[in-house]
Amino acid sequence: MRSDTRPWIWAAVVFLITFAGGFLFYTFLTFILAEETSSALIAFRQDFLFVLLLLFVTPAILAGLAAALMVNRYVRPVEKLSDISSLLGKNTSLPEYSPSGITFIDRLGQNLDAAAKRLNDQESEMQEQLRSASRKLSRERDTLATIIEQLQEGLVVTNKEGRILLFNAPAEQMLSLPDKNPPTYLGLGRPLDQVIENAPVQLAIDESRHPDGNGSFRFTVSSPGDQLLQIRAIPASLKDDPDSGNLFFIRNITGSVLKHHKEEEFADDGIRRVRDSVAGIRAAADNLKNYPDAGADMQEQFLGLILNETETIAALVGDYQKEQGKNKPGEGLNQVISLSALLGMMQRISAQSGLNLSFSFPEDEPYVEADACSVSISLLYMTGKIKELMGDDIRIASESADEHHKIKISWTGEEPDQDQLQNWIGGFPEFDGIKLPFSMQTVMQQHRAEWWTQSEDGSCEFNMILPKAEKPASPKTGKGHFDFDLFQFSLSSEIAKTPLKKITATVFDTETTGLYPSDGDRLISVGAVRILNGKLRENQSFHHYINPGRPIPEASTRIHGITDEMVAEKPNAAHCLKDFYRFCEEDIFIAHNAAFDMRFLELEQRGAGVDFSRPVIDTLLLSTILHPNLEGHSIDDLATRYGIKTETRHQALGDAIMTARVFLKMIPLLAGINIHTIEDATRASRESVYAKIRY
């Protein structure tokens, strides 16, 4: 009610002040005027008091009324505006402002209204973006979860300290064994090497990052369930953060190791026995031929031998064929590794343990097929034994021959006797806290290796020879991330200066079997549409499916809906890319997250005999420049942001059309930040953080 009485209080106050002012003025006059004038004034008051009072009261009343009016018309609307403004940003809808009729106040009110509306709009847009970002995040999380769930292999992700961040069901099945003795529990936050005892987790993390290695590290451990698990460690490193953790892929190889051993034994033994029999036949036949004078008895015996051995061979061959039919070739348990890398690893492990050994490295680049971890640990275990009991001045070196490579441990001292050696070889190698789940004998068998010791004048050697392996066709370098520089092309000045609104380009998108071209993922669909002179030409489109020559993972089918059956009759990538090249000719490319699609084109282009090198505009990069503070830069986010109707998503042509529309909407926005030409766009993209992403 304050607002009702206040104008009248103000009126009364102004009235009293004005009246009192008049009275004081009168009294003042009577004092300062000359006596005559003053007396006249007093006489006038005595005769015309009423008139004098009217002279005082009338302006006082007028002044009071004016004050009340002022408060009502000017102060109260401003106060109301102030109240309204205090609600700004409080996430409530503001009361409508009713015009007061005073122009400047009403303008203030209108401005406030507009500001409030803008704020509200921005807020709801922000809310929408938040919702879409969290939708996207949860979608990505779901996709990741699906991919991880679908893996046949166990997967454990650790941080750089080896603490578990994530694991899937197969990993849990293999590693979480609460009923066993000792029990193991796979749990988030636990160090992985506590879950699997004696596992060289830290070694794997270090070695998989070592520049001499091939970007991964394999080791074998036995789980408390007496299963042999082969674990492959791969750094999950991003380019900018080399220490971002590790992926551990886990495979139960118990069955394959047994099968492998059985097959190797069978083959080795079979060949030996066949050779023995053939030797018998040949010797007997030679004797028959070369010594015709041998007695009839002897000749009879030789013929009998030949017959017997022939039957033995026939039986052996029969067995072998039966066995061959039963067993498919075992999976290779070892990887091809250079001898230098193997010795380097041994050197690092031994240095860490404080064992002082001298290493000499081969000058050429010999390769062996080996499980690097078990060979290193076995040899270091042997070295440890030698150091402990036999001698000093231990040197480790390699020697190469035509068919094999030899690793030689030499020392000055005594040579172990046969029983001692057999004892060591029969033991489970252990070194610096890493224990192998099998004996050194098994390691030797697994590698078809031979070993022996020899000595002369107190200088002793332990030799191990490993069969030679071919140098791998394309040794993996780096960390498996592909170094694709999107901006490697220099623009010809004519194209470079073309304004974006006059652009002619092919906008394309691909669907693939997965995200990792370096791990064998392939193209399964290419879709494209052309922009001619700044206008989208949907009738100039290209959409082909490709038979990738490999099964399409279910997880990826779920994203794009393309199944093995759909592509079974389709041409291969080379065929499709030849056609695509004819479609796009010399156009520059536009794609969303172009690095990814370009990587696939680049991998397949050689087979097609074409070259897709050309300037590429990436709408993802442009989005990061246009909206550096907004979270979502996916094609969905951009479509929502620009009010583009979503059509067939996750279908190469549909996505290409969406990308084209998004790009056309970006052109005026880019002009606003002084990006007018193709050259401007590529230059600005180069500075975008997203340009650092590698596939």
Binding site: D276, V278, R282, A284, D286, F302, R448, I465, P467
Partner: protein, 126 residues
């Protein structure tokens, strides 16, 4: 006096043929069926040459060879290893352990006889 050859092999058929072959070539032939038997026989027999099979039951031919080379009294005896394995690793290992020669099974008897003649008359370098 004719030279003595000890055949160490567990395959009867090859033993019969080798025995005959070596006898025909004028050698005095003895046979051991496994590594233990061979190690017992060698010091008393003191053969001039041993034809040693690698794949023997219990103690391998490599073990026998290593023990021969460690024993001062018998280390000068010539040893030809007969290997059915035929793998490069075995040959390297055999020569490293002190074999004078190796013959891969199956072999031509003529080549074997040549190899025996050549080895048995070699001057002792040890």
């Amino acid at each position: 006096m004719s030279k003595k050859i000890l055949i160490v092999d567990d395959e009867p058929s090859i033993v019969i043929s080798l025995e005959f072959l070596m006898a025909q070539n004028g050698y005095n032939v003895f046979v051991a069926r496994n590594g233990e038997q061979a190690l017992d026989l060698i010091p008393e027999l003191m053969p001039d040459l041993i034809l040693l099979d690698v794949m023997l039951p219990n103690r391998s031919g490599f073990d026998v060879l290593q023990l021969i080379r460690k024993d001062k009294k018998i280390r000068h005896i010539k040893v030809i290893i007969l290997t059915a394995k035929g793998r490069d690793q075995d040959i390297t290992k055999g020569i490293s352990l002190g074999a004078d020669a190796y013959v891969t099974k199956p072999f031509s008897t003529r080549a074997l006889v040549e190899k025996v003649k050549e080895t048995i008359t070699q001057k002792d370098e040890k």
